[in-house]
Symmetry: C2
Subunit: 223 residues, 2 copies
């Protein structure tokens, strides 16, 4: 399925479908978000805030996972990324490292300028491991580049950020990159376009897993 | 001005207007976001991620301001707020306390369940002080309750979260609470409705202060 445009689209989609999941015992419980320096804040917090609301209706756990337990900042990693010498960033506290993170039901990977860094091998190795165990993998924006490098998108349909579309070239073994999609679902792997598309994808994923009533209620709470 | 609905509305608004601000020397530089336990993540990160993108085009600084420098969590503050015993939260690292924060050009106040807590007097005192010095005050969701308690909305038009609309009753001295608005601008004080309305308000505020081209470019980058 390719994503319709924006939250209005997601809501229209939600309104027309029946509950997809009535058996709570099979619902995902353990969610993990990978963090790396210079992640895009909205890629992380769009999906997570929809899930923050979900956590008041279902018993779910969140693990914020990075290379160390040091706070992970959105700050640009080079002067070239910050031409006006701004001092404008946010730092998020991880709960686990790649070494001690528990097994996940849902693995989430954000994008951001940090996906272009040269030191992401441990991050990609973790994504490969965690995706192998997870029931679902969700990526936002250029997070799909990391998933592709981890082999998660081999032979799959996927999408990525449109403003940096060329960056996906050569990534993924037989990956079919779909340019005109707000998000793409292929089996248990969901990939979305840039930034705000991530929340639309998350709401639609939530509908397919937790049912229409839950997803509509959460979309309304997010106004 | 009352806000149109959602980002599509903000974009339509942006597309039709001329640049509002050509003199960089008068542009705001120092932005501060107030943090308190159990803030709503999207209220903080919707506006901040639009400003993260702006920081690549203009020299701006961000201060994350709370009662102490300890990380501030979105976690519910009581068992009653977390009926399914979820463990699902994010913790953000402040850069300054209420005591040592620098003077701000733009004061931002998020909402969230934490705005109902009983120990917010120092937060409200800080908002009163900082708003007196700031060129602009922007609140998201129930952040307007705190601004009202700080006297910032006295005699002003304002709005707040619609799902918790009754909570604004009695707040503000002569405040005209407008129910049917996605956001409200009254002089230098902008108040928005729940959660995702904050990013629409921020983009429109950005247009009025930094000009149409900048705001449209940022809205496009956020896809």
């Amino acid at each position: 399925m390719s994503g319709k445009r924006f939250l209005g689209g997601a809501l229209a989609l939600l309104a027309g479908s029946a509950s997809a999941q009535d058996n709570n015992s099979t619902l995902p419980v353990n969610f993990g978000m990978v963090l790396f320096p210079s992640f895009q804040a909205f890629d992380v917090f769009g999906p997570l805030d929809a899930l923050n609301v979900l956590s008041m209706s279902y018993p779910i756990n969140l693990y914020l996972i990075s290379s160390t337990l040091d706070p992970v900042s959105t700050a640009p990693r080079s002067a070239g990324m910050n031409p006006h010498n701004s001092n404008f960033s946010q730092a998020l506290v991880p709960t686990h490292t790649f070494e001690d993170a528990p097994a996940l039901d849902v693995l989430m990977v954000p994008g951001g300028l940090g996906t272009r860094a040269g030191d992401l091998d441990p991050t990609i190795a973790y994504i490969a491991d965690a995706a192998g165990e997870a029931e679902y993998v969700l990526t936002v924006c250029t997070g799909s580049w990391l998933a592709a490098r981890a082999g998660v998108l081999d032979g799959k349909n996927a999408t990525s950020n449109k403003a940096s579309w060329a960056g996906r070239e050569g990534l993924g073994n037989g990956t079919n990159w779909i340019a005109h999609a707000r998000w793409v679902e292929d089996g248990n792997v969901w990939t979305s376009s840039g930034i705000s598309a991530g929340i639309d994808m998350t709401l639609t994923w939530m509908e397919s897993v937790f049912g229409n009533d839950t997803a509509t209620s959460i979309a309304n709470k997010l106004e």
